[in-house]
């Protein structure tokens, strides 16, 4: 398991290094961040993230309801 962790961490480090290099080179060669955001908003990424956020909000609301009903549930037991 320790060896597997080492291998994964090396891969992760290399990927992060590549990503940071790509972002750095993009900035240096005149990337327009607003254009990047606008393009990604129209892509399936944005809809996926928005869907996740809606799921999260729904799940959080259910959890809040559950926590609110727990005292009543225990009160009914005794």
């Amino acid at each position: 398991m320790k060896k597997a962790w080492n291998v994964v961490l090396v891969i992760v480090f290399v990927i992060i290094l590549l990503g940071a290099t790509a972002i750095g080179v993009g900035y240096l060669t005149g990337a327009d961040l607003e254009q990047v955001y606008m393009t990604l908003e129209k892509s399936p990424v944005a809809t996926f993230i928005l869907r996740l956020i809606s799921y999260w909000e729904k799940g959080f609301a259910y959890a809040q309801q559950l926590v609110a009903t727990l005292p009543q549930f225990f009160a009914g037991l005794f």
């Binding site: 597997a4 940071a20 790509a22 972002i23 254009q35 393009t39 892509s43 996740l52």
Partner: protein, 326 residues
């Protein structure tokens, strides 16, 4: 008193069998058989165990009587072929038996520190000293009875030579003087720096293949352990599954977003600089996703698997005992 209750005939014989591996297999079986008979004859097993003090002490006594010069440690577990039989050690065992059986009624109260049959010698307390001078004083006489030993004493393995010395140093100044006199008579240079546990550990390692033991379940304890371990294991499993599933969800989200970002960026950015920034962000997200995935695997295989393995190992330790094979 706790230590006394944990020791029994089988443990004593198993430990002694390990310590006597320097003998030929025939002789070893003969010696072990004699000790077995001794236990059968004893009215009170615990009293006999107290009289015998420890397997190490008995092994030392037998080793002194045994013709150590002819048999090297490599003879362990081999049948005798060309060597002549030497039953001097049997006389010693008979003498020990007679004395131990004679001593039994006299032993009434056992000090907590006196009996430490399976602990290392350094763990035995100072209260052991009063009981031992008798045994130590008998050793020179025994050696005088076996003159062949003095000739072969110089060739004896270091471990064998060290063990008696260690036993004697515990027995007070008189026993030490006797031991020194014996050493001078024998002209056997005994290195003083090596402690007796070397005999125990070295011979235990060497005797592993020769030792035949059988695992025997303590059924009531096993049932009790299973009844406790299953609910506790399920609770631990539930506790560990929550972070594992959260890690898996995070990994799926990160990797999906990264892949979607890469696929959408490749076709929709006319400018390479913008494409590079989007790809860089996607790669970093992918790396984070990999870390979460590895965390999930670790929780599943490392933590949960380790917990289950630990429970099984603990059950094996507590609920099973090793007894010498009949």
């Amino acid at each position: 008193m706790w230590e006394v209750s944990t020791i029994n005939k089988q443990k004593f014989l198993a430990e002694l069998a390990k310590l006597l591996t320097f003998m030929y297999e025939d002789d070893r079986q003969k010696a072990l058989g004699a000790y077995n008979e001794m236990f059968d004859e004893a009215e009170d097993e615990q009293m006999l165990l107290q009289a015998l003090v420890s397997p190490l002490r008995q092994a030392v006594e037998v080793a002194r009587a045994y013709n150590a010069g002819k048999q090297s440690l490599s003879t362990a577990a081999k049948p005798r072929e060309d060597e002549e039989a030497n039953d001097a050690f049997m006389d010693t065992i008979h003498r020990i038996r007679a004395e131990a059986l004679k001593k039994q009624p006299a032993v009434q109260v056992v000090n907590e520190n006196q009996i430490s049959l399976f602990d290392a010698p350094e763990e035995t307390g100072p209260a052991e000293a009063p009981a031992q001078p008798e045994a130590a004083a008998e050793v020179p006489a025994e050696e005088a009875a076996a003159p062949a030993e003095s000739e072969d004493g110089a060739e004896a393995p270091a471990e064998e030579a060290d063990a008696p010395e260690e036993a004697e140093t515990e027995n007070g100044p008189e026993a030490e003087e006797d031991a020194q006199a014996d050493e001078e008579d024998e002209d056997a240079p005994l290195p003083e720096s090596k402690p007796a546990p070397a005999l125990q550990t070295a011979e235990l390692d060497r005797s592993q293949p020769a030792q035949k033991t059988v695992r025997k379940a303590r059924v009531p304890l096993l049932i009790l352990y299973i009844l406790l371990a299953i609910p506790l294991g399920l609770i631990g499993l539930a506790i560990l599954l929550i972070p594992a599933l959260v890690s898996l969800a995070a990994a799926i989200v990160c990797i999906t977003v990264a892949v979607l970002a890469v696929t959408s960026a490749l076709g929709s950015f006319p400018k390479i600089a913008n494409l590079l920034v989007a790809l860089g962000a996607a790669l970093i997200l992918l790396a984070v996703g990999l870390v979460f995935l590895m965390l999930f695997v670790w929780f599943l295989a490392g933590a949960i698997g380790g917990m289950i393995n630990g429970l099984i190992t603990l059950g094996g330790k507590w609920c099973y005992k090793e007894v010498p094979a009949e």
